[in-house]
Structures are given as structure tokens and as C-alpha cells.
Symmetry: C2
Subunit: 214 residues, 2 copies
DNA sequence: AACAATACTGATACTGAGTACCATTTGACA
DNA sequence: TGTCAAATGGTACTCAGTATCAGTATTGTT
């Protein structure tokens, strides 16, 4: 389980390193400024002035203003897709999905948990951001489902890989929501416990009944 | 199970009827024009000219250009929330959720299935629409989860209502996707069968394993 | 049936995100 | 060092979305 993305990766061509640096700088500034001033109140011009790049460069790096704000989210799911791709599945898939996801969380940069908490809190403040994050999640889900179907050699009509992909993101979303609500206290470890708990809650939810419950 | 929304509802004050009429006209024109010319290629001006209202009126009716395109989706979930609110839960909740949803589908306008198919197909063509639809889904999920927690008197930390809400929209999304892919053939009836199937697939997915499967 | 009070519409002017285009600079590589 | 490719910055543009206000239609009251 190698650490995938660190800030200054030698061995990468200089040009690529520069691009990565501005990408990182833009994402950091975006998270900070949007949190301080509000997403709508911060114009793109202010953002690019801060980082000292042009608007052109911004849109060559990110497809939208919103994208710069949810980099931490993107990092998580890109890494997860890669991990799933490189993993040989065996046993109960949903459990495997949970383990892969937990492995990814463990492998991310040291500053990732803080950035993720800040990101999720920010997302709650602006509907536009909410929409963008939801879209990203749907996108990831689709890709995960397709990848699963491929890895398991399942026919096109089989709904199970899509369902599994959705269950995975569902479990994550719910676990993360609870963890973020605590301010990310307990760090990575408590997040992992929250994820375990959420995955366990799925079968428990299926059986939930009224009457007997009150 | 009363039919909720028909085009010209008497007994409503004139002012409200007019608003509903323009809303309907805008949504219809939007669906048609976006499908014909493409979402991005159709400007808001063209749309409001067609319906002969001002841009001002458009934005008092819909919060965004995208919203006019997904009215069929909004109608479905608004009706579902209302139905859930008015329903007394008993027995296995997930089954109840399925039944309520199926009841809502049965109760919608005669032209709803066609409009829904057109909507979903349109959504696939424009990322902006995709994002907006995903956002709407997330919004509905949240409200459904909160409503469930309230109706079942569950404490704030309990993840199960949120999971159930997500499972419900998940099942719907997957069922609808399959149904739309067939062009909505078989109409409402085959959609309902697809929904049944998707709900059954959820427990089946939990147990899916590798090895034994290939 | 006339009259406030109130809600809705339309027009205008504005902000800011995102795109298209081109001239300039910078890194890659022989 | 020189040449090619690729990234950058600047300018001008389109269009969604907001704010404001004057005019018009609807409601409910007397």
C-alpha cells in the first residue's frame, strides 16, 4: 500500500511537477478563501490573484469553480478506483469494498483528514457546491459499478454491481457525515471505525420494522 | 390514492392556476427544446420567448435553467414525500417504502411516463443537468431520511433511516435506468416490475461473492 | 361596484462564470 | 544552442443569474 500522492514528487518531469504545484495551490487557496469569505462571495478573480495565475490556467486545471473546492473528495475516490482496479477480489464483495476503502483512507496524505472535514463543511454552505459534489459522487458510483461488473465478469443486465457500488458510497457518505459532525475528532482511526459501523448498519437497516421498534 | 396534480385544477384561486399553467408550459417547452437543440445550445432567452414570458418570470418559477428540465423527476419525489408523510408505517420499512413509491407511480399523470423517459435521456446528454439531478436526488434523500427518523421516533445518531432512504433512491435509480434503457416500453406496468426487481436485488447484492460467482 | 392592499409581471442594467482565440513564454530533447 | 511542443496570460465575448423598480392583475372588503 504505497502512499500515492505527496506534494513534491521527484522523478516526475519538471513541467508536471509545476502543474501539480499550481493545482495544489489553487485547491488550498480555494478551500481557505471559500471557507473564510463564502463560496459565492469569493470571485474567481480573487482566487487566481491570490495564487498568481491567470483565469485561463485555472480553467485548464479545473473544469469549474466548484471543482477546486472538492479536491480532497476527488483524491479519495480516484485513489479508491485505482486500488479497486489493482485488487484481486475474493470472498464477499461488499466486505472487500469496505476493506479497500479503509486501506485507501489509511494511505492518503497526512493533511487529508483536516482538508476533508473542511471540504464537507464547506459543501454544506453552498447549494452549488452540494450539487457539484453529488454529481461527482454519482460519477464515481457509475465507474465503480462498471469496474465491478467487469472484474466479476457479470452480464450487462445484472443490477448487483451497480447496487454494490451505490451501497459502498452510501456507507461512506453516512459514515463521513457522522464523523465530520464531530469535527473529525479521533482522526483517521475514528473515521475508520465509523466506516465499519456504517457498513454493518446496511444489513441491519434492511430488517428495520415499525411497531416492534417503538 | 387521489390523483395529485392535473393540468387544470379548478377550485384553486385563479392566480395559482395561472402560475401552474406557466410552470407547466415552461417545463414542457424546456424538455422539448433541450431535447431537440441540446441543453447548452438552447439559451434561456429562446425558451422564454417560446413560452412568451419574461426571464424574470422564469427565475421566479424555477431556481435554475436546469430545474425546468427535470420537472418530471421533481413531481415524482414531491409526491413520494407527501405520500410517506401521510402514511402510517407498519412492518418491514424497506418494503413499505417500495409500496409507497409504487403507489405514487400509479397515481401520477397519464403523460408522466413519457416525460420521465425523455427527462432521463436528456439528463445523460449534459453534465450540468446530471449534476443538478444528482443534487436533487441527494436533497430528497436527506428529507426522506429525516422524515423516517421522525416517524419512527429514532434518536439522532441512528444511521438506519438515512440508510433506508438511500436504499430507496438507489433501488429506484437502478430500476428506472434499466427501464429507460428500453425506452419505457411496457409503460407503467413494466416500470413497476423493474422496481420490484431492484428492491429484491438489494439483499441479493449483499451476499455476492467472487470465486463462487464465476 | 369601486377601492385599497397585495402579489405578480416585465424591462433594464448589472455581476461573474465559463469559452474562444492568439501572442508569448517555458520546458523537453536532440 | 536551437527547435518543437506544450503551457501560460491576456482580451474579448456569451450567457446564466440577481437586483431593482415601475406597471398591471387579483384578491377581499365595504
Amino acid at each position: 500500500m504505497a502512499s500515492v500522492s505527496s506534494a513534491a514528487d521527484r522523478s516526475l518531469p519538471l513541467r508536471e511537477r509545476k502543474k501539480l504545484r499550481t493545482r495544489r495551490a489553487l485547491a488550498d487557496a480555494a478551500l481557505r478563501m471559500f471557507t473564510e469569505k463564502g463560496f459565492d462571495a469569493t470571485t474567481l478573480e480573487e482566487l487566481v490573484d491570490e495564487v498568481e495565475v491567470s483565469k485561463s490556467t485555472f480553467f485548464r486545471t479545473f473544469p469549474a469553480k466548484e471543482a477546486a473546492a472538492i479536491e480532497a473528495e476527488v483524491e479519495l475516490w480516484s485513489a479508491n478506483l485505482t486500488a479497486l482496479r489493482d485488487h484481486t477480489l475474493s470472498g464477499v464483495i461488499l466486505t472487500e469494498m469496505k476493506d479497500i476503502l479503509c486501506g485507501v483512507v489509511t494511505g492518503l496524505d497526512a493533511d487529508w483528514p483536516d482538508r476533508y472535514v473542511a471540504t464537507r463543511r464547506l459543501v454544506l454552505t453552498a447549494p452549488t457546491l452540494m450539487a457539484y459534489a453529488a454529481h461527482h459522487r454519482a460519477d464515481i458510483q457509475q465507474q465503480t459499478g462498471d469496474l465491478l461488473a467487469d472484474k466479476l465478469n457479470l452480464p450487462l443486465g445484472d443490477l448487483r454491481p451497480q447496487v454494490l457500488a451505490e451501497l459502498t458510497t452510501t456507507a461512506w457518505t453516512i459514515a463521513a457525515r457522522a464523523w465530520v459532525r464531530t469535527g473529525g475528532q479521533g482522526g483517521r482511526q475514528s473515521l475508520l471505525e465509523s466506516v465499519e459501523h456504517a457498513f454493518q448498519t446496511i444489513p441491519a437497516s434492511l430488517e428495520l420494522s415499525a411497531q416492534t421498534e417503538r
